[in-house]
């Protein structure tokens, strides 16, 4: 790891001020992605701004038909939260399956969403559930937030404060994990709210998380795995690596989508 200066702001305002002065600085949340990246020298920020001492950034609240999760809330806390388990069990299950227990004890939802790794789990949940990402400056709909691999709508000096998830009527996440890294080879989050159906796919596309609109359309008629029968996703633009070819991943999207819908209607 290269040397950096380290700052521990006490408020979001201070953090925003620091990052505005140094646009190459990195915000540190749980560090479960940033630190390994820095250790491999794939990132060498001149400054690290640690969000750990900012009060009020972690916590889970139910507000009517919405669950609001603070950006610094750890995966373990989302996974075991009574509120999340009751309101959006699919989201709790997703969080409980990220990485391993020690990683879940430090990694945060805000960090995961801000990083937008093409194989991360949370972006799929945000997109499928139609979440709103609340920053220190504005509210961003998930549809506008994720803009391609490691790219988001976040502007310089913009910090995620919390994420609001509207309650679905049915939802489930099905993940085919890479057996070594536990990242999704392909993960599909299926959600239904009223007549709206959303299928968000992570791990598959080199553009990062995306909605499988043809699948959504088919499910709008009848929310059943049968509706997806015979549908396929083009292999164009899918990630191809030692873990799986583009064709394989495209095929997995269909398989995992069916599994997600099966689980969703089973609840």
């Amino acid at each position: 790891m290269y040397a950096f200066t380290y700052q521990r702001p006490k408020t979001v305002r201070q953090a925003a001020g620091l990052i505005a002065k140094n646009v190459d600085a990195k915000l540190l949340a749980g560090g479960q992605t940033l630190l390994p990246t820095m250790k491999q020298r794939l990132a060498s920020p001149p400054a690290v701004i640690d969000l750990a001492k900012i009060e009020g950034l972690a916590g889970i609240e139910r507000k009517g038909r919405t669950v609001v999760i603070g950006a610094m809330t750890k995966h373990a806390d989302v996974g075991t939260s009574a509120i999340v388990r009751e309101a959006i069990p699919a989201l709790a299950a997703l969080a409980e399956n990220i990485g391993d227990p020690a990683v879940r004890n430090r990694g945060t939802i805000g960090g995961s969403v801000a990083n937008n790794d093409p194989s991360a789990d949370y972006p799929a949940a945000c997109l499928a559930l139609g979440a709103t990402i609340v920053t220190n400056k504005r509210k961003i709909a998930a549809d506008d937030f994720f803009q391609g691999m490691f790219t988001t709508a976040l502007e310089e000096g913009e910090i995620i404060v919390k994420i609001a998830f509207p309650l679905p009527s049915k939802a489930a996440y099905a993940k085919f994990p890479n057996p070594a890294s536990r990242y999704a080879m392909v993960g599909v989050f299926a959600a239904k709210r009223g007549s709206e159906v959303r299928l968000a796919v992570t791990g598959a596309s080199s553009d990062g998380v995306f909605r499988w609109t043809a699948g959504e359309e088919a499910l709008r008629g009848r929310f059943s795995p049968k509706s997806l029968e015979g549908l396929s996703v083009p292999a164009d633009g899918m990630i191809s690596d030692i873990h799986g070819s583009a064709d394989y991943r495209a095929h997995l999207v269909g398989v995992m989508a069916k599994r997600a819908v099966t689980t969703a209607i089973g609840k």
Partner: protein
């Protein structure tokens, strides 16, 4: 340099460290607590697991400066007055180790599992929960047995094996 103050195994320590110092480096090199091992240094193997504010974390993927104000427990902090912790005793009793390299992390993770999931753990739960701890020697079988027995022995009122 950044000043960091934390409680390690019940003792308060303050140090001036280069901010890039990992918690694993800090406990091993600054505090000379070499029971915490570094296997992969890439957050996969779990040899470096310690507890920060009561929760298991990978110390190779945590900055020491991020633990300012926290309470850290390493494997050295488990035994009380020279008597092994029930989980340590269970690893000895069930031969839950061969070379021992992964053992500190296994035990710290195991204690964390008990803290979260209670004293009656089935094999499936233990195997799932040890996801982030890799052992190159044992084939896990005896580790799983040790964790199950250690979990029972940690129950309030259980007679520890050591006391028998």
């Amino acid at each position: 340099m950044t000043t960091v103050t934390m409680t390690v195994n019940g003792k308060s320590v303050t140090a001036n460290v280069d901010p890039r110092t990992l918690l694993s480096q800090f406990v091993r090199e600054n505090l000379r607590l070499t029971g915490t091992h570094v296997g992969c240094d890439t957050s996969q193997c779990g040899a470096c697991v310690v507890h920060v504010d009561g929760r298991a974390v990978k110390s190779c993927t945590t900055l020491a400066v991020s633990c300012d104000g926290s309470s850290v427990t390493t494997i050295e902090g488990l035994a009380v007055d020279g008597a092994l912790h029930p989980m340590q005793e269970a690893f000895r009793e069930h031969h839950g180790l061969q070379c021992g390299f992964c053992t500190p992390g296994m035990i710290m993770s195991a204690v964390d599992i008990v803290n979260r999931k209670g004293n009656a753990l089935d094999e499936h739960t233990i195997r799932e929960e040890l996801e982030g701890n890799i052992c190159r020697c044992t084939g896990y079988h005896n580790i799983v047995k040790a964790v199950e027995a250690g979990a029972r022995a940690m129950a309030p009122g259980a007679t520890s094996i050591a006391a028998e």
